[in-house]
Assembly symmetry: C3
Homo-oligomer: 344 residues x 3
């Protein structure tokens, strides 16, 4: 009998099933340094212990997307090893910062199942939680994937399609304990634009571009212990290129968005996300954002801003998203909807 | 007079000579993070402080192969700068874990010399010890290399060929102080297979593949302060490719072997090793293992398993090793024989 | 109104203006590990806490060039985003080591302005200071760049050209507090050559070569939060290659210079520097040095040596620098003049 993990197929999931994902991971200053090497990340709260302390935190937390990638990476062997497509995200919330030295692990609960009409695959919805070493939830989100069936003749489960919020409500956003932007230094942060300066509907072209290389995305994807073969094995495709982990595009686009959104410091919610088209080595990534909503919070000087972040391999000045047919433009790689915290 | 290091030639070695290698190195969490970025490393004991603590250790040690690479790297300027070939390893034993913050240095004693019949080169055997900041030996091993003579007319030394064990005896394996797998969490470790589930002679195809890039192996080889020119200088070869450090292949194969050997947590002995064929950028590495032996230990819940680890740029499902002529198949890159500790 | 940073143009600078650069940065052991992965860095004082302690320091500081790159990187969005050329450095002095955990920020004062005769651009001189979390200056240097005018018709400022020292005087070199080479271990450091062994005028070919890759220089340049577009965006040039950050060449050359200058441990002054020709992916870098001057210091066993460090993509054995026309040879990439501390 084989001792290797063949991954789970559609029949292997049932509603209410809780999967405790393997390989807990201690994250520390090495991961922080690598994040800065892999992405042009400049948000001051994640760059400087001093800036974070002045913002009421005990020190600089690890980037919110480090938490996301590590938690997500652990789910891959159980959720998406046989996935045909990563269909979406919803109801993502960051509940606590991750500090250097924390150890993260992940658990997922199956909350939805629906066999596809072709009988060969189905959609699985899971709610994933990332926990630290004292079992506090640091992050939770729903994602759904299309998974192959092992046996096309297996009978379908009763369809359960979860009701998911279109966006996390502003009242449900969790501001990290102690956070205050009352004494915020806009000059050190890099831009003068405060929460009040952004208008719903406003679009921002982040201007800068970054061309991605095979070595970089593989370093990143391994760092998150994401084991999906397509990111590493050049023999999977005729052209030898490897499909780049969608999360690499998320982090690159978020880092590029510093130029125009330097004060959108902390990510607190992931409302929705689509990996619109595959990304490959040699693509030059650019990004633009759109302000979707704004909300106040109870924390001193802290506002919330809801943003659409679009990564494109085309010209970010065009703000292209979808064609008249409602389909994503071929150059759009990512369409991400999130909430961030910003000084008022 | 030149101030640069020309390396040592065969005539520069004599039996009993002890070489204290240069450039001690403090290793810490940055090296740990880079190891996870460079290799798909997932063994839980090296990934999580919590998992290591539950296994009786004070925290997660640095990967055993980080210790090996750092200790080995220091020997290169003195042992293998003028080496024609790295011929073999024997009697390798890990005696103590390396913790973040430890400072490592290396010493080698010349234990064998034999001039080749062509008179142009000879074989040098050294026993290398890696020491930490309080002069405890953390690792020792024998390796032998073929080294050029400076002067073909120099008279040969008396031949001394050391008697080396075919494998480290199970009784000589050192289990780290305090290690216990009595409370082992197989689910968090990633696989249910325990020591008792493996049979001598069993072969495991580790399935996954990873294509290597120039930037990656150079980052790794520099990280270990290995200075061998062939790994870095594209002008050495017509095709501009650089010969990949054999240790990069070892770490890649070991990490790939997680899939099927997730519970072979700690490496405690290196019995033998051959870099069967050179590895180059663009090669897609796969791995398979064979169980060679098993032994019990005195530590709670801890068994020892002796494994052959083979890295190939071909199909690991074929378990190809050597041809009928006894020579390694051209696709085999590494044939490594080691002992690991596993929960019983 | 655009929220992104267009960079400053020549008209935006005035004499006496102080610019507080954005995004403070905490640097720690992760940055140290990455530095060792990116460059073949082997100077023992920056590799081993034990070696540094024996030299009178509390531990191993971060490499002097990490401090330089971080401080420099912060100035890019304000000083050189619209620069046509990086013209020179002078009066650079390292005043305090940077320790793991320190947070660095940068400030620049405009000390010179001169419009070019073409009316389209001008030269800006700034004195940049790097400060740590307790506002101690760790590093200061002057650099001057050629910057585009926004409006060619704008009237020129009064020309102010600062008088800059040709080299930092030996008496102005700052030896880190406590530094002593009285108990220096030449064997562990890697070479026997002491300060007394080097003669003014002596040239050293550092022999080794290292071929650079796109992924590597982008990792490095992002790590220093240097945002200059030309280093990252392949669409800037027909051939898809990215112009490599000049500081990457400095670090590579300095690391290569270990072979022959292993005991030139600490950089304490930057006298001058020219990025003679652009460097691109695929170039194989080699280095040679020339001893320009020597001086004693008051610290036990510590001498100072002034070195010219030349990086070339040609043969470093030729010691080529400039042609008969006084112009740099096309293969020369860097001509750097610095002071280092060395055991007497």
């Amino acid at each position: 009998m084989s001792k290797t993990n063949p991954g789970r197929f559609f029949e292997d999931y049932h509603i209410g099933q809780v999967i405790r994902h393997a390989v807990p991971r201690t994250v520390a200053e090495g991961e922080r340094a690598l994040y800065h090497a892999l992405y042009p990340a400049r948000h001051a709260l994640y760059s400087s212990d001093e800036f974070a302390a002045r913002s009421g935190l005990e020190g600089s937390p690890l980037d919110d997307l480090i938490a996301f990638h590590v938690v997500f990476g652990k789910t891959v062997p159980d959720i998406s090893l046989n996935a045909i497509a990563n269909l979406g995200y919803a109801e993502g919330r960051w509940l606590r910062p991750v500090w250097p030295g924390d150890t993260l692990r992940s658990e997922s609960e199956v909350i939805g199942l629906r066999q596809n009409s072709n009988g060969k695959s189905g959609v699985v919805w899971v709610r994933t939680r990332g926990l630290n070493q004292v079992d506090e939830v640091v992050l939770k989100y729903v994602r759904w994937v299309m998974v192959r069936k092992r046996d096309a003749d297996a009978s379908p489960p009763d369809a359960v399609v979860p009701q998911l919020a279109g966006a996390v409500a502003a009242d449900d956003l969790v501001v990290p304990e102690g956070l205050s932007f009352a004494d915020y230094d806009f000059e050190l942060a890099g831009e003068p634009h405060r929460w009040g300066d952004y208008a719903v509907g406003e679009k921002i072209n982040h201007v800068d571009g970054c061309t991605v290389e095979e070595a970089e995305h593989m370093l990143a994807t391994r760092l998150w212990q994401n084991t999906a073969k397509v990111h590493f094995d050049a023999t999977n495709r005729e052209d030898g290129r490897r499909l780049i982990y969608g999360g690499h595009v998320i982090s690159m686009a978020r880092a590029l968005s510093f130029n125009g959104l330097a004060n959108a410091q902390m990510i607190v919610a992931l409302n929705a996300g689509a990996h619109a088209n595959p990304c490959f080595s040699g693509d030059t990534l650019r990004a633009w954002s759109e302000v979707l909503d704004k909300a106040e919070t109870d924390a001193p000087g802290v506002g919330a801003i809801r943003l659409r972040l679009v990564a494109t391999k085309g010209d970010s000045a065009d703000f292209v998203l979808k064609g008249e047919d409602g389909k994503y433009d071929p150059q759009v790689l990512l369409d991400l909807d999130y909430w961030a915290l910003m000084p008022i």
